[in-house]
């Protein structure tokens, strides 16, 4: 049993996971129906009258009309998803786009989340470094050895909180 849970087995698990994920990621997901395409496109368009709802979600008549237009474009089979969206954004101005662009002021909505994440992770890393320094600074080598020995002995290590 102990042997089973050794590092080579974990390596094997890692290999299996990567291989399976690779298979799954490259496998063909089957044909998309026209309905799926219409849904995917209308999820990326905002209903112009309903403040924040997508065309996919909204039952307003303007959304209904845009959905019909998307259905027509999809049925004609000539345009890609992006072309259809660009066409509709042309008549309605960019305010029907639900995904903010990555240029100018709009890019802030993408940059700030990443900045927040990076700041918190860096902050946390610095805190850990400080704590480590503090711990070592306060304790003598003897103390550390004592704590390590006790930690190693602790049989319950407290799974039940």
């Amino acid at each position: 049993m102990k042997k089973l849970k050794s590092w080579p087995v974990w390596m094997l698990m890692g290999v299996i996971v990567v291989a399976l994920l690779a298979v799954g990621a490259t496998k063909d997901s089957g044909p998309r129906t026209q309905g799926d395409r219409i849904d995917a496109i209308s999820k990326r368009l905002a209903c112009p009258t309903c403040d924040g709802e997508s065309v996919y979600v909204s039952r307003a008549s303007a959304a209904e009309a845009i959905r019909t237009q998307v259905a027509r474009d999809v049925a004609s089979g000539k345009l890609t998803d992006n072309q259809i969206i660009a066409g509709i954004a042309r008549t309605f101005n960019a305010q029907v786009l639900l995904v903010p662009r990555a240029t100018g002021l709009d890019s802030l909505v993408w940059v700030l989340p990443i900045a927040a994440l990076v700041c918190s992770v860096v902050g946390l890393a610095m805190a850990f470094r400080r704590w480590k320094r503090q711990n070592l600074g306060d304790a003598s080598a003897q103390d550390i050895a004592l704590v390590e020995r006790l930690l190693a002995q602790d049989p319950t290590d407290d799974e039940n909180v």
Binding site: P48, T49, D51, S61, A62, E64, A65, I66, T68, Q69, R72, I88, R90, T91, F92, N93, Q134, G137, D138
Partner: protein, 186 residues
């Protein structure tokens, strides 16, 4: 172990950001905005071909030579109903003018009966064009009825009025456009 005071600095920084946000909200306009802009202004009008509720089939291309006004309408929309008398007045004014503009009501997502009943009760005999699949509304980028659009005799889009009309505004706007207009006719 040194314990530098950090709380005042951190909370101070957070406070400043939040106060900025509050000031921003305090000056945010509630809803709406200027939607009377349109990429179509100054461009040839989209193709409009459809059936009519009370007359022959409609084709915008054949209306070249006269000013055309489209009013996007729905019988359940309150501002549409409120602006109706001004449209009736507008057609009366136009009938008396030298170069009358043609008014068309365009109806999406409504029942024929409701629209006909509304016009019977409230007056108005101009053509009512069906837009059952919403193609016309989407081509013009109509966000929210009522919207009123003016197309010049060459078939170029000249004005978009979003929201309900006020008394006399449409006639005024049309006259202003007519005076600027230097098309092939004049």
């Amino acid at each position: 172990m040194s314990k530098r005071p950090v709380a005042p600095y951190i909370s101070g920084a957070v406070g400043v950001v939040l106060i900025g946000l509050i000031v921003l909200f305090a000056f945010a306009k509630p809803g709406g905005g200027d939607i009377a802009r349109s990429p179509l202004l100054g461009q040839p009008a989209p193709v409009v071909q459809s059936t009519s509720l009370n007359g022959p089939d409609f084709d915008l291309a054949r209306r070249k030579g006269s000013w055309v006004v489209f009013n996007f309408f729905n019988s359940t929309c309150v501002p549409c109903r409120q602006e109706h008398p001004f449209l009736v007045q507008f057609t009366k004014d136009q009938a008396a003018s030298a170069n009358p503009a043609e008014l068309y009501t365009i109806v999406n997502d409504d029942s024929d009966n409701a629209v006909t009943a509304f016009f019977d009760t409230n007056g108005g005999t101009w053509p009512i064009v069906r837009d059952d699949d919403g193609a016309i509304s989407v081509a013009f980028g109509v966000a929210k009825v009522p919207e009123t659009w003016i197309i010049d005799p060459d078939g170029f889009v000249r004005a978009r009025i979003a929201g309900a009309l006020t008394a006399g505004y449409l006639t005024e706007k049309l006259n202003e456009l007519k005076s600027q207009y230097t098309g092939t006719e004049s």
